[in-house]
């Protein structure tokens, strides 16, 4: 049984509060979900402490602050814990008002939320399914994944970023699309998100990488990441599990 106050008092006993605002991010270097939160905090210029979790040996703090799912990322703000990366992004946007992440217009906000949910609920599951397919199911799964990528690409159209002239909530949520897909592709040896099939998405990825320094900063280091992906992929295909 956990209440946020017991999480707060554990936290307070670990650090001297001194009346300052305290922001802590429990995450994992390889997770696109904790990288989303990291990016959002950095865009907002919110000072925070990063805590690297070991998912094979979850910390007492993580268990106390996310008792329901026991997952990262967790944002700890003055002892209160907020979980689920997209929920955390909204919390960050509502708490620190400078440099808005979501659009101002309610209809644009609805669209951004719709597409972020689409990425997590439909697109990425379809992509992972393709990467983990058995030989005989691969083409069919790949075609479905392409259909989903095309859908997302249509939302980008002729905009520089999903957020318009600068990155926003949906660009942050789409970090997994922009960087994880191509990295996993290169390990698995399936050609999915390429220039010919998705010129607009690929252009957007290039822009993110070359024009948004913070985006690059919030990526797992490439070589280390590729090794990690390879290890997990081999384990997953051996046991037919999840990436």
């Amino acid at each position: 049984k956990v209440h946020s106050t017991s999480c707060g008092s554990l936290f307070k006993s670990l650090l001297k509060m001194g009346g300052e605002e305290s922001v802590k991010l429990l995450g994992v270097w390889s997770s696109p979900y904790s990288r989303r939160v990291e990016l959002a905090l950095k865009l907002k210029g919110v000072p925070f402490e990063s805590v690297e979790e070991d998912l094979s040996k979850k910390s007492a703090l993580l268990m106390k602050c996310n008792p329901v799912h026991k997952k990262i990322p967790v944002l700890l703000h003055n002892g209160k814990s907020i979980v689920e990366s997209l929920i955390i992004l909204e919390y960050i946007d509502e708490t620190w008002k400078g440099r808005p992440l979501l659009p101002q217009d309610p209809y644009e906000r609805a669209k951004a939320r719709f597409w972020a949910k689409f990425i997590d609920d439909k697109l990425m599951p379809g992509v992972w399914k393709t990467f983990l397919s058995k030989e005989e199911e691969r083409e069919e799964n790949k075609e479905e994944a392409c259909e989903l990528l095309r859908s997302l690409e249509s939302e980008l159209k002729d905009k520089k970023y999903f957020g318009g002239d600068d990155i926003g909530y949906l660009d942050i949520a789409a970090n997994v699309v922009a960087f994880w897909i191509q990295r996993v592709e290169s390990v698995v040896g399936i050609d999915l998100l390429n220039q010919d099939s998705f010129p607009i998405l690929c252009k957007w990825i290039e822009r993110l990488y070359h024009e948004i320094p913070l985006m690059k900063e919030c990526l797992p280091p490439k070589e280390k990441h590729l090794v990690y992906i390879k290890t997990r992929y081999e384990a997953a295909t051996a046991t037919n599990g999840n990436l």
Partner: protein
């Protein structure tokens, strides 16, 4: 306020997701046109308005479509800013509401599994569902520290709307499962919350009558069991 806006809701009478949108619009006092879809023969408009999922509900406001019930609820709250408010004002409380709304979805998925399976598989799904509801019973004490609200103002709020769309129709559920799911002994908070929610006029108005609902549930069950065989 200016010109009257055009609000249409594409739905299906038995869908809990559509129910959410309808309740929210009624709570806010927004007039809307309701279009009942035949899900076996979806209209051109629906497919045009929701090409990604091709599902209901879709809210069309001044010609602009919004899909996904939780997205629709937040849109309704943000575009019609007069009270009653669906989500709380404070960011931490909003995060909690959003968290539990997502959690209820996972419980509902198990409820669907219970509906579509039999024997051991069904029992397993039911046990997992009850366990999830145990977690919710405990976790929601943070949102309702003095017990379930009684809704004197007739506003169930975002989370109340989500919860009752899945678990509010206690009569139907009891009939279907042959037993009360949210027993007061095991779920004092959730059961009293469900009871209070079911009394709210806007919710009463859109709750399908138990016999009609049971008909649909039995149909879904029979089809699922047939295709499992």
């Amino acid at each position: 306020m200016g010109e009257k806006s055009s609000v249409k809701l594409y739905g299906f009478w038995a869908s809990p997701f559509v129910m959410r949108a309808a309740v929210a619009l009624k709570i806010k006092g927004i007039e809307f046109e309701y279009i009942e879809e035949d899900l076996r023969n979806k209209s051109e408009q629906l497919l045009q308005y929701n090409p990604v999922y091709k599902k209901v509900p879709v809210l069309v406001h001044n010609g602009q479509p919004i899909a996904e019930s939780l997205v629709i609820l937040e849109y309704i709250d943000e575009i019609w800013t007069d009270p009653p408010h669906l989500l709380p004002k404070e960011p931490y409380h909003r995060a909690k509401h959003r968290f539990w709304a997502a959690y209820f979805q996972t419980a509902f998925d198990l409820m669907l599994k219970t509906l579509k399976t039999e024997g051991e598989e069904q029992q397993k799904a039911l046990n997992e569902l009850l366990a999830k509801l145990d977690v919710a019973e405990e976790g929601l004490k943070e949102i309702f520290p003095s017990g379930a609200p009684i809704f004197q103002d007739g506003n169930p709020g975002y989370l109340g709307i989500v919860f009752c769309s899945f678990f509010g129709n206690t009569e139907t559920m009891a009939e279907f499962f042959g037993t009360k799911l949210l027993t007061p002994e095991r779920y004092p908070l959730l059961s009293s919350w469900a009871a209070a929610l079911s009394q709210i006029p806007a919710i009463k108005e859109v709750t399908p009558p138990a016999p009609k609902m049971l008909g649909v549930l039995n149909l879904v069950r029979q089809n699922a069991l047939k295709s499992n065989a």
